[in-house]
Amino acid sequence: MLLTGNHAVAYGVRDAAAEVIAAYPITPQTQIVEKLAEFVEKGQMRARYVRVESEHSAMAACIAAEACGARSFTATSSQGLLYMSEVVFWAGLGRFPVTMAVVTRTLAPPWSIWNEHTDILSQRDAGWVIMMCENAQEAYDTAIQAFRIAEDERLLQPVMYGLDAFTISHTAEEVDLLEKGDVEGYLPPLDPKKLRVYMDPESPGTFGNLVGPDMMMEMRHSIKEAFERAREVIKGAVKEYERISGRRQAGLIEEYKCRDAEVVIVTMGASSGDAKDAVDALRERGVRAGLVRLRVIRPLPREEILEAVKGAKVVATVDRDYSFGYGGILGGELAGFVKNTMCRFVAGLGGRDLTPEDFQGIALKALDVAEKGEEREEFWWGLKR
């Protein structure tokens, strides 16, 4: 089926039998929630749709619906995600297995609707599993996998997944959908009894009242432990999905020609495809390049990354995001554990085009820096002077 990334998410959420959708429009996400409204109104989904007045309310409604045992979903972008942020943390710290699609978009001011990843990465401490999609097919697949991951009893944490604005959200590609029966086996109905928070008048409990310093650390630690189990949960969900779909799936990371690579580019999201083209082109020129695409950002797949880059002379991170006074966010995070020489690039901010040629240039620059032993924190690639 020919679908944009946005519609692919909507079909995924439909096929996953989400029960409550609460949403508020924002470019470039809107088509997801429009399509879902259509599915619900035409009776193609057995769900309730709450047309809330803000993103803050969207997430609050999802949390409360989940607390009443309903599989819940919302989608947002950029300003909407930041406006929602208080409740994003509420979902993570309260362990409500909501899922959310985030169509990544530059934050204002000044206004921009184009792609950047700072929005989704701003929520990285919220207690959510965070994933990034590479294309429309993966958006569909992730929409379904996200529910299975979130609702896994070993985890029970919310899952958000990013789609790059326009490059994925508005670009139509051929997408294979699953058979209904296959999804039902993969994702059984949510059993409310297994939820951490279930509002059951037959067995009343109070969720979220005061906790003193004597217990809070242990509560936070239990979430930390859940995230330690998250790696296995995600791997299992992906493997089982490969079986039912018959299609290969990336796990926590996707390695592309890393085995003998002297330079490994690290990316996430849509431009990873262009980076793969760059790897191929470089190899034709005799440069042993490779790519690591982070499909999962939280939990951060440290071991997988270390294994993938272990033979590389230099690791080139490409951040489409920025933390002022710190640097590119992924580059900074990888610098915390990667022992190889690193070269950190910031590129494609505000939707600036990032081509295969750019990635070739980035890889060659990184190799050059490594050979010269140049000491430099970061490179803003393509900056006009």
Binding site: E19, V20, A22, R46, A47, R48, Y49, V50, R51, V52, E53, S54, H56, S57, A58, A60, A61, C62, I63, A64, A65, E66, A67, C68, G69, A70, S72, E86, V87, W90, V197, M199, D200, P201, P204, G205, T206, F207, G208, N209, L210, V211, G212, M215
Partner: protein, 303 residues
């Protein structure tokens, strides 16, 4: 009109237990106790940051015998909406959703979510217990603080008038809007029963004046007296808006005639928050009360 609610209609069963962390003389805790007696065990309580967050006490203890979802300050009505959607989908039509928020969480930070829920006419009951300031943080002014009242952020008295959330709710044309006062528990209970038993689906809103001993600065044993005076002086009007009509309820029924009201200074003089008022200030507040009644009489005759 609301059928009279008698003390015999209040069940003996308790759904909020004693030993909770409310201040002595707390009208909010008293009213919540009554509300849950009226609505019964098949009720889910949604509470934002408010005194109720503290009254629940420390985890793992709780005084509530119904499920409680604590939610972010601004999100009460939105969370209630999500619950209604889930319960409706699951066919649990016998479970009621009760949103219970303070005046800060209703008139100020939660107003957007409440207005959204009211416009969508979500099938739930929303009670604002109005103690006329941010009491949980120690008495800062809110949009619902009356003019001239001293708070920690209006130490010489609030210059602006109180915002009328019930009237904002009426403008949404949902099935039921009422005011109540903690000092008239049976009037409040009757309104809750009516809201809960209406066949018409939709949002039912009750705005409950909730006298606060530490915040209004009166002795803890005078909560009911202060609440009664709020109504008997005409400062707070008890009414319902239903089927497009306004009805006065309880003692307010007899107070359209100014001469039947107790002098306003009886209400003001027993509260520290009005202790700084000059004669001129009191006269100005008296005029405001009279204006409020004239406005109400106009609305009654128009509907």
């Amino acid at each position: 009109m609301t059928a009279m609610f008698s003390i015999k209609d209040l069940v003996e069963e308790e759904y909020t237990l004693p030993g909770n962390a409310s201040c002595p003389g707390c009208a909010a805790a008293l009213s919540l106790r009554i509300a849950l007696k009226v609505l019964g065990p098949k009720t889910i309580l949604v509470v934002p940051a408010s005194c109720i967050s503290v009254i629940q006490g420390y985890y793992p203890k709780t005084p509530c015998r119904v499920p409680v979802l604590n939610v972010a300050f601004a999100s009460t009505a939105a969370a209630g909406s999500g619950m209604v959607a889930a319960l409706d989908l699951k066919g649990k039509s016998d479970v009621k959703v009760l949103c219970w928020a303070g005046d800060g969480g209703t008139a100020d930070i939660g107003l957007q979510a409440l207005s959204g829920a009211a416009e969508r006419n979500e099938n739930m009951i929303y009670v604002c217990y109005d103690n006329e300031a941010y009491m949980n943080t120690g008495t800062q002014r809110s949009g619902s603080t009356p003019r001239a009242a001293a708070t920690t952020t209006t130490v010489t008295g609030k210059p602006e008038r109180k915002k009328s959330v019930p009237e904002i709710m009426v403008a949404h044309r949902m099935p039921y809007v009422a005011t109540a006062c903690a000092a008239f528990p049976l009037d409040f209970a009757g309104k809750l029963r009516r809201a809960a038993s209406m066949p018409l689906r939709g949002l039912k809103y009750i705005h409950l004046l909730s006298p606060c001993p530490p915040g209004w600065r009166f002795p803890a044993e005078k909560t009911i007296e202060v609440g009664r005076l709020a109504v008997m002086t005409g400062f707070w009007i008890l009414y319902e808006w239903v089927d497009g009509r306004y009805n006065l309820t309880g003692p307010s029924k007899g107070l359209l005639d100014k001469s039947k009201r107790r002098p306003l200074r009886d209400y003001l003089s027993i509260q520290g928050r009005f202790g700084h008022l000059t004669e001129k200030d009191i006269e100005s507040l008296e005029e405001e009360v009279e204006e409020q009644w004239k406005d109400f009489a106009r609305k009654m005759s128009m509907t």
